[in-house]
């Protein structure tokens, strides 16, 4: 076991193990959101703990002092024919010296999960990082005795605000012929997110981070309005993108794309959705009502600031007309 892996390692390290090629295996991957939440949680926990206790520790742990440490774990799920459905995941311990997983721990965990979920098998493993590492192939091969073709799920923990997709990539291993010798390399696979209703609700809940006691009316209203505000902001940015694109097309910077223009034109023709005098009247009335309420709220805010200011000026510069105690100056 060790000799071939050494040879493989000797051959592997000069050649790149990453591949931009997409898989031709024909497997369909379905990913449940619980896995993503688990992996990110694991990563965040380890990062937070390392930050707490790692101020004085040496830089020998993990991948350098600047980067957060990588975490590893197993993904489990069901494979039916060509469909691979990844349901759950659990953490694993990686021995930093030898670079191998703790097999005893893995087997114990596997047994425990088997008792609860008899259908689930170990389908592969996960890790975090911005791209595939050279050492990943070793771990991948090590897992091959549990599952003949494990999957490798990579989560990119760096926050990229411009990226709109999930930072999760699923890699398979395929035997390709490179420079005359067959090698295992990672190839990307497409996946879809699959949710059960219960999962959707719980992920939604976690994502919005509502206060646990339901909050007072004020915080609930603020949370609701924040949601609407971010939705409108996103709509606005999308419309702006389309607008810039059209302007550039008009100026001639971008070649004309007729199908896109047709789509935009059909979108524009669908608006305004409602066009009647009664609608205008009602809409403007409601708009004015909301504006008046905002105005009133601002007024109240201003008046209270003014009131406090006057109190302060009175306490500093005026002789009080009646003898008041220390509390008298405050509300």
């Amino acid at each position: 076991m060790s000799a071939p892996s050494d040879a493989a390692a000797a051959v592997d390290t000069p050649a790149p193990t990453t591949a931009a090629a997409s898989s031709s295996g024909g497997f369909t991957f379905k990913l449940h959101p619980l896995v993503i939440v688990n992996v990110s949680d694991h990563h965040t926990r380890v990062k937070a703990q390392a930050a707490c206790s790692g101020d004085s520790s040496s830089s020998s742990s993990g991948a350098g002092a600047g980067q957060p440490p990588r975490v590893f774990g197993c993904v489990i799920g069901v494979q039916r024919g060509r469909t691979v459905e990844i349901f759950n995941s659990f953490e694993l311990v990686l021995d930093p010296v030898s670079g191998t997983l703790d097999r005893a721990f893995l087997e114990k965990k596997q047994e425990l999960y088997k008792k609860v979920f008899p259908d689930f098998y170990v389908l592969g493993w996960y890790s975090t990082g911005s791209d595939v590492h050279d050492t990943d192939m070793q771990i991948h091969k090590a897992l091959m005795d549990v599952n003949e073709s494990p999957v490798y799920l990579l989560l990119n923990p760096t926050i990229n605000l411009s990226q709109k997709d999930l930072p999760v990539t699923i890699y398979e291993s395929e035997l390709h012929v490179i420079d005359g010798s067959p090698q295992l390399i990672f190839v990307r696979s497409n996946y879809t997110i699959e949710t059960v209703e219960a999962e959707r609700i719980s992920v939604d809940h976690v994502a919005h981070l509502k206060p646990s006691d339901g909050g007072s009316a004020a915080t609930q209203l603020a949370a609701h309005l924040t949601g609407i505000h971010s939705a409108i902001k996103m709509l606005n940015s999308r419309v702006r993108v389309i607008h810039q694109y059209l302007v550039a097309m008009q100026k001639g910077d971008i070649p004309m794309d007729n199908s896109l223009l047709r789509q935009v034109s059909s979108l524009v023709r669908r608006l305004p959705a409602m066009e009647s005098q009664k609608f205008q009247d009602d809409f403007l009335m409601e708009y004015n009502d909301t504006l008046l309420m905002t105005y009133l709220a601002m007024f109240t805010n201003c008046s209270s600031t003014m009131n406090e200011l006057v109190e302060k000026i009175n306490t500093s510069y005026e002789r009080p007309t009646t003898r008041r105690g220390g509390r008298g100056a405050f509300m």
Binding site: T219, A222, L291, S316, T321, G326, A329
Partner: protein
């Protein structure tokens, strides 16, 4: 002390860039003083060599020396000297004169005195308006020139000219006297223009401004304030809590008659009010308020008619005339018609049977203009609120305030005041 020619040469030479002007300024300060004034008579021909725009600073020094030299200005060819000052004020460069603000103010004051002496206040209006704009570091600052300018506008009865200055909101004040005069004169100008709500605002500021001792301007302002608030609101509000203590205590004593007028007004009977006014017309005349009092009298009708709108839906013209104590239904119709045109009530007059039906405010708030109106009000309010918050912060750091509160707090041995901490956040934007 250099000779005048050398000084003039310096001025001409050193008025280019800001550094040169600063150098010139220090030279002028050295040369300034009584020695310059002693040569006042000789200075005038030199002024012809300098131009007001480029050599503003030097021109200002020489001009001020002439003007405050104490000798009669008619020596300088009176009317021409006025023209010289007026020309300077309109043409000078704002940056240069801001280096010597007190001299500039002296020159303005001399202009105003001269103009009043000649009894031609209208000649001073244009130069002083330019002067106000030049010496202000921002449109929100109050200068002594404001008060002089408004006084000239009042005397010349050019109320519209004063309006442009009055429209700016004032946030910075150096001298309290400036503020009092500004508010008082400004109030009078608005009264002249019949813009009573704005007049009320300014007079209110004059009455509630902080003062350690009661001053005459505030008392006069209070008298007009009572009258104007009767015209606008029908009642005189009590002193708000930011009025100074000295004002609260003694203001009413100096304006006793006006207080009685307001109580008689609130009774709502026209004839009583009329007799009161007749009885005290001498006092009102001496305060120069008789015209305003007559307007209060005529506003009594309006007040009563407005009170009727709250009770009746329709009313005949005879009934209106009777309850408001007018002579004939024709008078009632005239009054109601005028009020409808001014927008003070909403009603329709049915001429056939002489009935007036009162309506609700027809504003439906469904127009786009209303949206813009409210939106602009909200913007203004946001700006004001920011300013207010910053003033509040400054006040919290004020040593006088901290001393007063710190001393009271000390009694509790530094115990934390839990009331100060709120669980709900106050700011949502």
């Amino acid at each position: 002390m250099e000779s005048l020619e050398a000084l003039v040469a310096h001025i001409q030479g050193l008025s280019g860039s800001p550094e040169e002007v600063a150098h010139l300024h220090s030279l002028l300060k050295q040369a300034d003083g009584d020695s310059l004034r002693a040569h006042a008579a000789a200075l005038v021909p030199f002024l012809a060599y300098l131009s007001p725009e480029t050599h503003s600073l030097g021109y200002l020094y020489l001009l001020e020396a002439c003007a405050t030299s104490g000798s009669n200005l008619s020596e300088f060819g009176g009317g021409d000297f006025l023209v010289t000052i007026a020309g300077f004020l309109t043409a000078c460069s704002a940056d240069q004169i801001r280096l010597a603000p007190d001299k500039f103010l002296n020159v303005c004051r001399v202009l105003k005195d001269q103009v009043m002496q000649l009894n031609m206040p209208i000649r001073g209006i244009a130069p002083l308006r330019a002067a106000v704009r030049k010496i202000q570091s921002s449109p929100e600052q109050l200068t002594p020139v404001h008060a002089d300018y408004l006084l000239l506008c009042l005397l010349a009865k050019q109320y519209m000219a004063g309006l442009s200055i009055l429209e700016d909101d004032i946030f910075e004040v150096d001298q309290p006297k400036d503020l009092f005069l500004y508010c008082y004169y400004g109030g009078m100008i608005y009264i002249g223009l019949k813009k009573f709500p704005k007049a009320l605002e300014l007079l209110h500021n004059a009455v509630t401004a902080p003062m350690s001792m009661l001053n005459a301007i505030a008392v006069e302002a209070y008298k007009k304030y009572v009258l104007v608030s009767l015209i606008v609101n029908g009642q005189v509000p009590s002193f708000p809590k930011y009025t100074s203590v000295s004002a609260q205590r003694s203001m009413k004593n100096h304006a006793q008659i006006y207080v009685e007028l307001s109580t008689s007004y609130s009774n709502g009977r026209y004839t009583d009010l009329e007799t009161f006014v007749q009885a005290n017309s001498a006092t009102f005349q001496s305060d120069n308020n008789l015209g305003l009092v007559k307007q209060v009298l005529s506003s009594m009708y309006k007040r009563n008619i407005q009170r009727l709108t709250q009770t009746y839906l329709t009313l005949s013209l005879e009934d209106i005339a009777r309850s408001v104590q007018l002579e004939t239904p024709r008078d009632a119709e005239m009054h109601v018609l005028r009020m409808i045109e001014d927008g003070e009530i909403h009603a329709t007059i049915n001429q056939k049977d002489g009935m007036v039906s009162f309506h609700e405010d027809p504003e439906q708030y469904k127009s786009v203009e209303m949206v813009e109106h409210i939106d602009s009000s909200i913007q203004r309010l946001t700006a004001l609120s920011k300013k207010l918050a910053s003033i509040d912060e400054n006040m919290s750091c004020d040593p006088a305030y901290l001393m007063k509160t710190g001393r009271d707090r000390g009694r509790f041995d530094g115990r934390f005041d839990y009331d100060d901490y709120d669980s709900v956040p106050h700011k949502f934007f």
